[in-house]
Symmetry: C2
Subunit: 341 residues, 2 copies
DNA sequence: CTGAAAGCGCTTACAG
DNA sequence: CTGAAAGCGCTTACAG
C-alpha cells in the first residue's frame, strides 16, 4: 500500500516534528544536527520510503552530479568500448554518466545537444557524434560540451582515434616482404577514420611509385561501406589474375569479408592474398587465418575524453594525453610481413 | 560573449516587456497569445539564446518526456541491439530515451534503480540488468519500473530471449543427419540464456539415450565463459578420436573459437566436426565455413519491452507480443543437417 | 488577450 | 542546535 504520490521532505519533517530545513541538513549531512534529532529524521524517512527528488535538489544546488554522453542511435561496437572507458572515468570522479542517443542531420543533433546543455540536468556533456561547433562550449556560463569523436568532420579533441599512420607501416612492411600489388577496401567515407585510412593508403602508394620509383601498383580503392558483404563482393569482382595481391581493409569486418571472398575464389590467404584489418575486433584472432590488424584502445580514448570534460567543468587544466592509442597486432593474414625495426 | 549565467524566461519577459506567464504561454503554445506579442517574445528569446530549463519545467509539470534504460556497465553487443529497438520505440512514442549504466552487486543496482525512479527526472524505467523485485513497479505513485532482461535470475517479462528450444531442434536435425556424438560449449552460467541452452542440451541428449534408445553420446559440457579462447581451448583438449562430433556452442563467439580449434587440430568442418552457434553475430556469415546459428531479434525484443513500459506509464493494457524472436539460420558449419519438416 | 501569484521539492543563508 | 523564509526556473489556475 503506497501513497498516491511519493513522499517529500516536507512529509518527513511533519512526521518527525521538525522543520524541512532540519530534514535537509540531516540528509545532506551539512548542518550540525543533534544525534537524537538525526536519528528520528532518518527513522521516519526510512519508514515512509522517502527519497529525495534529485531534480528539485539540483535545481537549487546547480549540481546534479550527472554527465551526459551523446552517441549515435546505433552505437557501433567501438563507441561501446569508448563508453565503457568514459563511464569508468566518470565513476571514479564521482559523477553518474548517462547516455543519450541522437539521430538525424547534423543540425538536428546540434539542436538536441544545445537543448540538453541548457536543460539543467547535466553538468557537462561529451558528444561522440559530430555536431556543429556552435554546440561546443568550454563551460563558461553553460555546462561544458566537448566533442570526442573518432567519426567526425572536425577532429575535435580526442580525434587521435582517426589517425591512420599505421596504414603506412602496413604498406611498407608488405613492400619489404616483397609485395608489389595492393588494394584498399575502404569504409564509409562519412567517417573521418575511413577517409584517413583511404587517404593515407593513396598517398603512400603514390609515394612508392613516384618517389621511390618502385613498381608498386594499386588495383584501386573499392568498398565504401562498413559491411563484410561489400568487401566480399569487391573481392569477387577482382580479375582472375589479381593475385598475388595485398589487401588493406579499413576494418576487421571488411577484412573477414575479404577472407571469405578469397576463399570462394579459391585463393589462399596468406599465400595468394594477404590481408590486414583495423580495430582488433574480438573475432579477428580466431578467423582462419587470424587477422593482422590495428589495436585501437577505445577504452583509453573514452577515459581520456571524460577526463577532459571533467577538467573543463572543474576549471582545471586539461590532463595530458596518455600513450599512443594504436598498435599493430601482427597475425597470420599478413603472411611474412613483419614489424619494421 | 555570453552572459555569466544562462538566460531564463524571466529575462525574456523583461526584455520583451511582458510577464513571465506570457513567455511561458508562447513557448508551450498553450495560452491564446496575440500574434504580435508572440512574435516579439519569440524574437527576444531567439536573440538572447534562451532555452527552457527542462528540469524546472518538469518539476512543475511532472512530465519530463524522458525514459531511462538501465544497462550493465559494459553492455554486450546484444544489449546494444536491444537498446536500438527500445530507442526507436521511445522515439516513436514521443519520449527521449536515456541510458544509465549500473555496476556492483544486485543490491547496489537495485538501490540505484530506486534512486532513479524517485529522482523525478524519468517517467518510466526499463532495466536490462537483474534487480531485486522490490525495485519493480507497475507505476502507481512512482514511475513504472520494468525489467526486460535476457540475462537475469528471474526471467521477468521479456525473458523470452533466453528460451533455448531451438537447441533441441539443432540436436534432432543433427541426429537425423547421422550424428551420434555431441559436445556442448557453454557460456557463462550467470546468464539465464547460457543456463537454458546448457540445460536443454543435457535434457535433450538424456532423452535421446533413454527414451529413444539411441546410441547418442555426449562428450560433455565444456567452456563456461563467453570467450572464443575458452572454446578454442576446449577443442584443443579433446581426445584425438573425438571426431566425428557435433559441437553445439552457446553463441557465435564460442563457435568461431571452435572453428579455429578444429582447424588447428587439422579437423575439417563440417567434415570431421560440425558446429552450431547462437545469436547470428555479423561475422558468422563470413567465417570459413559460415556458421549455422540462431538469429535472435534483439531489436524486436527491445521494442517490445519499451512498448510494455509505455503502456504501463499510460495505464494502458500491455501490448501483445509479436512473432517469435528466434529462428535458425542454416549455413555451412552444420553440414548436411537440415531443418525438420 | 495578459498579468500577479502560488507552487513543484528541494537547499541555504540568516536569526535566534 | 533548529526554524522561518527566500529562491532555483518554470507552469497554471485565477482575475481582469
Amino acid at each position: 500500500m503506497s501513497a498516491a504520490v511519493p513522499p517529500t521532505s516536507r512529509d518527513v519533517a511533519r512526521l518527525a516534528g521538525v522543520s524541512q530545513a532540519t530534514v535537509s541538513y540531516v540528509l545532506t549531512g551539512k548542518g550540525a544536527i543533534s544525534p537524537a534529532t538525526r536519528e528520528r529524521v532518518l527513522k521516519v524517512a526510512e519508514s515512509i520510503g522517502y527519497r529525495p527528488n534529485l531534480a528539485a535538489r539540483s535545481m537549487r544546488t546547480r549540481r546534479s552530479g550527472r554527465l551526459a554522453v551523446i552517441t549515435g542511435v546505433v552505437a557501433v561496437g567501438n563507441q561501446m568500448r569508448m563508453l565503457t572507458g568514459a563511464s569508468r572515468a566518470a565513476d571514479e570522479a564521482g559523477y553518474a554518466m548517462e547516455t543519450s542517443s541522437v539521430d538525424g542531420t547534423v543540425e538536428d543533433r546540434t539542436e538536441r545537444v544545445l537543448e540538453l546543455a541548457a536543460g539543467g540536468q547535466y553538468e557537462g556533456i561529451l558528444t561522440f557524434v559530430p555536431v556543429l561547433p556552435e554546440a561546443l562550449s568550454d563551460g563558461g556560463d553553460t555546462p561544458p560540451v566537448l566533442a570526442a569523436t573518432a567519426f567526425d568532420e572536425q577532429m575535435h579533441s580526442a580525434g587521435e582515434l582517426a589517425q591512420a599512420d599505421l596504414m603506412e607501416v602496413f604498406v611498407h612492411a608488405l613492400v619489404a616482404a616483397g609485395h608489389r600489388r595492393f588494394l584498399h577496401v575502404a569504409g564509409s567515407q562519412e567517417f573521418a577514420s575511413a577517409r584517413a585510412r583511404r587517404d593515407t593508403y593513396l598517398a603512400c602508394l603514390a609515394g612508392l611509385q613516384s618517389v621511390q620509383g618502385l613498381d608498386a601498383e594499386s588495383l584501386g580503392v573499392v568498398g565504401g561501406e562498413w559491411s563484410a558483404e561489400s568487401a566480399r563482393q569487391a573481392v569477387l569482382a577482382l580479375p582472375d589474375d589479381a593475385p598475388p595481391v595485398a589487401v588493406l581493409a579499413a576494418n576487421d569486418m571488411l577484412a573477414i569479408g575479404v577472407l571469405r571472398g578469397a576463399a570462394e575464389r579459391g585463393w589462399s590467404v596468406p599465400g595468394d592474398v594477404v590481408v590486414t584489418g583495423w580495430d582488433n575486433a574480438a573475432f579477428g584472432a580466431y578467423t582462419m587465418p587470424s587477422l593482422t590488424t590495428v589495436d585501437v584502445d577505445f577504452q583509453a580514448a573514452g577515459r581520456h575524453a571524460m577526463h577532459l570534460l571533467i577538467a573543463a567543468l572543474r576549471g582545471e587544466a586539461p590532463p595530458a594525453r596518455g600513450p599512443a592509442l594504436q598498435r599493430i597486432v601482427w597475425r597470420e593474414s599478413s603472411g611474412a610481413a613483419r614489424p619494421p625495426r
